[in-house]
Every structure is written in C-alpha cells, then in structure tokens.
Symmetry: C2
Subunit: 321 residues, 2 copies
C-alpha cells in the first residue's frame, strides 16, 4: 500500500513542481515537438516510475503489451510471383499485386524449350497434369483463415485474384495461386464475363505491346440504397465468416518501352454477365479516386503525382521512370 | 521493335539455359529459401533487364509503383495521450489504445495544484470552459475521412473511443479525443448504458487499485442470421460513407503492483440499454478469441502466451513483467 501511494505521490509531485516552473521548457516543447515525439510532461530523475513517465504513450503500450495487429495488412505476404495484402476481417485479400513480363508468356526464340505446365491450360490438362489443390496459408492465424469448406453449400464459387493463366511456364507460381489468401467468393459466371475479357486484354494486348505490366486486383464493398437508407449488405460464408464483395477492381500500370508508366483502372460488379450482351471493357473504366474511396486504399502513396485523367484510357502518365 | 524482341529473347534464353543446368542450385534454393527471400530463377549477368530479373517481384513492384496503403492501419496515429489505428474502409478506428495511470486521475498530495480542466466535467463546464470542437485529422486522406456532417440527419450520435473523462487535468489530451479518427457512430443512449459503467469501473476500481491500466477500445461488425442466410448488414452514413458497427469491445490489461499483467475483455452491442435493467458488467465479459475472430485483430502478436482463462475475470495472467 505504501509503495502505491509513494509512487503516485512522487509522480503527482513531479507534475506539481513542473507546473510552477515550466514556462521556458514548455515553450521549447511547443516549438520542437509538433510532429515529433510528444514528450510526457514529467521531470527527469523522478525516482519511482521515472523512466516510464518519460516514454511516449505509444512506446509504453508497445513495450508492455504490443500493438494489436491486422496480420499481412501493411506488410504483404510474399509468394513466388505475386504478393498479397490480406484482410483479416473479411478473410479475403485487400489486394493482390502481379508484375507481368513479356518473356514469361511468349517465346520468340526457337531455342526456348519451356513447355506450358499450367494445369489450367487445356494442352497441359490433356497431358494429365493434375490441378493444384486449394491450400491454406499458415502465416495467417486460424481465427482469420478462410477454408474451402466455408464455400460448401453456398451459391458462390472460389474466385482467384492472381490468375494462374499468368504463369504458363511456372508450375510453382501457378500452384501458388490456389492459396486461400488469393481466393474471393464470386457469383458463378462472373469469371467468364467481362472479368475474363479484362484478363485476356491484359495478357494479349498490354503485356504483348509493352515492356511490362503491373496489375493490382482486389474486392470492393459498395453500399446500396435500401428504402432511402444507405446500407452495406453482403453475405458471409461458413464458420470462417468469409465476406462476399459486391464488386472487384483492377488497377493496371503499364510500363511502356519508352520508359513511361500509364494507368488504367476498372471496376466490375460481382455478378453473372447477361447472356448475349456484348462486353465493352471501356464501360468498366472507373476513376482511380472512386476505387480508392471504396477500398480504403491509396494506390500510390509514395508518388507525388496528380491523377487528372485517370479514367481516360492510357491517358494518365504516372511519371517518367 | 527490335529493342522489345531482343529484351524478351535474352530473358527467355536466360531461362532456357537455366532450365538445363539448374539442378545443384535449385536444390540449394529449396533448402535455403523456404521462409526467406524467394529468388527469381534468372541467371546473373543477363545483359537486358538483368538487374530487374534478379529482384523479387515484391521489390520490383515497390520500387516501380509502391504498395497500396491502408493509411494508419499498422502504424498507429500518435496523439498526446493515446494512439489510434484507423480503418480507412469504414472511416472509424480499428482500435484506440490508452494507458491510464493513477497519478493522472487522483491527487494524494495537498501540494498538487492541478485543477480539472476537462470541459466535460460538470465543475469545469460551470466555470465556462468551452467544449472542444470535433476536428478532422489531416494525416488521413480526404477520401477516407469522416466528417461531422456525415452524422447530420441520421439516427446516430458521435461516440468517442478514447474517453475525455480519462484526461481530467490535461486540456490538450482532452480536446484531442474530439478528433474524428476517435469517433464512431453510436445508437443514442449507448454511452449511458453498460459502456458508461465499464468506463467508470476502469477508472474508479482498476486504475485506483493497480499500478496502471492499458485499455484498447474499438468497434466490431458481427453478422446476423437473415432467413437462414448469414449476412452482414449495417448502415452507412453520409457522403463519407461512415460504417455503423454492431458491437464494441474493450480489451483491458491491468498492470498490478506486484508487476503482473492481467486481462479482462468485454463486448457490448451498439444498442440502447433497456430501461430499469440492472447492469451486470460480468454479463458482457467475452473471450478474447471471440473478439479477435470478429475484429480481424491479434491483440498480443509478440507475446507467446496461452490464453486459457481469458473470460474469467482477473484470471488470466498474461506474463510476468
């Protein structure tokens, strides 16, 4: 009991004394510490609890109990040929980033003896290559992992963000796209609609005609109007409580042969495409700011670039390399 | 055109050669790189695009375009006496962490001349101290900021996670609790129910009787059963699209005078308490794992501790300091 009172009293005393004589130092503090460490107003050399008093509150918390973490949210998960920022709340990725390079798709050299090993390819499947299996990423805590069983008895299918068809000559990278952190619930038919056209357009046109292409794909949750009340409403699957997004985005950065970066950004609803409907990819072009608002993401936080024409195809030059 | 083909061909060639002679190195790689850097399978000293080939895909992306960021998600925002991890998707905090110390609340020393300056205090309000105003945190991008106007013409009120009553002698810290990153939409009456009792219990019992108390508060979104279909459904406010959570949590770590850490964790619905109902705080005690599952958070990622009895009050000793 004595210990408690003496500790509290000495701290209180320290603050009391400080309040009487603090003018010069507090002015200094005001001038110097605006965006720096916010020092606690304690006198140095207080015997009990002195060191702790001087630490910033965030440092005290970090040292004693650590910060709560959204695993793999800011520090992406590394896979062989793509990276994933995982959303532990919704058990789906925040985003999946790929870097597609011409030489990984196409053979210009007759001496190139690579064969298409991706089991999703028809030729490869005919050769009897087995499809890789969905597997969990054990770096994600069990509380926040999605499981194939979560999708059973639901109306949704497992959709892949990093596309296995992007790794035709690399069985390992291809199999890694089956990791559950790369999977998002999709409405059946979604992956055959404009999303498929967009994937083909990236490979067949953008990768073919440019130095390389960076592709960032991810889910979006857009609210809807419900009797004049704006609400978020989406299905949640299985015991893992996997969220079903309402839309998907692709932000594509094209590295041209003359060394510039150009931008195209798309948004598509998680829905079955209407039959007989002609797909125009341009209809899905979406200003980057709209995707940033809905996703909570800032795509180019380190680049001081003005996106004035990001919704005009190939119009926006991010910056010269 | 020549440049493109020569670049692609040389890269393809490099991979082609690699495939013929890669046995020893690939075995080495398999053994060494399981949880380390996943090296690209490129030969060194390839003339065109050589340096880029050797970089890991994540490093290439980071260097060329940077990672998309959920601002202030992993690196918390620092305020004078609390820290906030902000959820840019929902425009509310993920969590707010406070460190409450006895000497900041109570005066044991007659020489302590501090006066209660918090304008939320009745005595202080009687003295004419003006209530601080809600203000934005400009470190959060405009796309992801909540605004007081988002709450206008809604059925919700602005609820504060870091509690101004925790800073009775510190006008600055008290005013900082009015920052919009600390605000969550609450159902009117919520803050007068068991949430208020919990706040009082922390100050009047836990802080009084222990060395210090760490308090982590935040919102939760729990799905509900809708005609046999599990769904997430919540209101979204204003142009800023601020999400209204269904529940709130408080994870409390008590630093005792004998140097141990103990844990109590609570969850409460974002609802008006029923009138005449007697509040029993124990009814809201919730296993930490349940809060971790719903929030997507791991609270003590750096501590290797087994939480065997976290729902028994004061039962779980995190670890000796």
């Amino acid at each position: 009991m004595f210990r408690k009172i003496s500790y509290a009293a000495s701290c209180a005393l320290a603050v009391g004394i400080k309040n009487k004589f603090d003018t010069p130092q507090s002015v200094l503090l005001q001038e110097n510490s605006l965006s720096k460490l916010n020092l606690q107003r304690c006198l140095p050399k207080v015997s009990a609890g002195g060191t702790e008093c001087q630490l910033y509150v965030g440092d005290r918390i970090k040292r004693a109990v650590g910060f709560p973490q959204l695993t793999a949210c800011c520090k992406p998960l590394r896979y062989k040929d793509f990276i994933i920022s995982y959303d532990t709340k919704n058990r789906i990725p925040n985003w999946v980033y790929e870097h597609l390079q011409y030489y990984k798709f196409y053979k210009d050299d007759p001496c190139d003896r690579r064969i298409n090993v991706c089991p999703y390819n028809e030729d490869s499947a005919a050769l009897g290559n087995e499809k890789p299996k969905f597997h969990p990423d054990c770096r994600i805590h069990g509380y926040h992992r999605a499981d194939v069983r979560d999708y059973c008895d639901t109306e949704y299918e497992l959709g892949l963000m990093a596309d296995p068809a992007n790794y035709p000559f690399d069985a390992e990278a291809c199999a890694e796209t089956q990791v559950m952190t790369n999977v998002v619930p999709i409405v059946p038919g979604f992956s055959c609609g404009p999303w498929f056209d967009l994937q083909c357009y990236i490979r067949e046109k953008l990768v073919r005609e440019n130095k390389s292409v960076y592709v960032c794909s991810g889910p979006l949750f857009l609210p809807s109007d419900n009797d004049g009340k704006v609400q978020m409403k989406f299905d949640v699957l299985g015991e893992g409580e996997v969220s079903v997004p309402s839309h998907f985005f692709k932000v594509i950065i094209i590295e041209t042969h003359d060394g510039n970066l150009e931008l195209e950004s798309y948004m598509m609803p998680n829905a079955k495409p209407e039959e007989g409907e002609e797909v125009k990819l341009d209809d899905y072009l979406t200003p980057l700011c709209q995707i940033e608002h809905a996703s909570g993401l800032i795509f180019f936080p380190e680049k001081k670039v003005c996106f004035t024409s990001n919704n005009k195809r190939r119009g926006a030059r991010l910056h010269a390399l």
